[in-house]
Symmetry: C2
Subunit: 140 residues, 2 copies
């Protein structure tokens, strides 16, 4: 299924900006891009799409469940194409982000919620640490 069908199925009219933005996220499934970074990629691809439109489209794609918005510790949100549920491990030195999924963790969250009489809706779980990459400590 291509992007345009994905958009249609989500009830969104197929437009150039939507298709391009979804393309970028889909082409980089392991990246966590900010609105600005996405906009830069569009510009680099000679697409003249306004930053405001990038924000509007990202919001629509998120509501449609096609992408996921993340708010890590920066004051900038980042977006990724929606995959199966996962949490994040972030290297505080090089900024590398690893996605992981742990069933024990999910169950534990359910249990904790139940203990407090909460009906769990969603969660944010982000681990910050130092990775063991040889080439770490560089960028960001």
């Amino acid at each position: 299924m291509n992007n345009n069908d994905t958009l249609k199925d989500a009830g969104l009219k197929v437009t150039h900006p939507r298709s391009e933005i979804l393309d970028i996220l889909q082409a980089n499934p392991d990246m966590h891009l900010s609105a600005d970074e996405i906009h830069n990629k569009l510009v680099a691809n000679n697409q003249s799409i306004g930053l405001a439109t990038v924000y509007r489209v990202l919001t629509q794609l998120e509501v449609a469940g096609l992408i996921q918005k993340n708010q890590f510790s920066d004051n900038q949100s980042s977006y990724e194409i929606k995959k199966q549920h996962h949490d994040h491990l972030i290297c505080i030195k090089c900024g590398k982000i690893i996605e992981f999924m742990n069933d024990d963790l999910e169950q534990l969250q359910e249990k904790i919620s139940k203990d407090y009489n909460f009906r769990l809706n969603s969660h944010v779980m982000t681990l910050f640490g130092e990775c063991s990459d040889d080439k770490c400590a560089g960028k960001k």
Copy 2:
């Protein structure tokens, strides 16, 4: 130990704004206040302290390890006096915040980090759900 001694021990000169702000956080150990809310409380107490100073002081207190900064899903940070480590459970309907601590969770985080060769530094774990308060669904 009073606030002034706490500030001195942290290597911070004792000033009126610092003392007042620390007072507020200490007097509300279970609240998660934004810079603006703290500023409002100061104004309500007839303290003429600028909002910029509130931000500057909060940053200093955080660096000194006296308070904890939280970035929940809003686009506003909130601050609380530093207590023993804990995570948060937030009601998406009424905004109520419950602090909890779970040893299994802490250990699981260590294990996951180790699995990915990360040296764990800190984490953010926030559960979002619906509380069971009779008077829920009201504010915020």
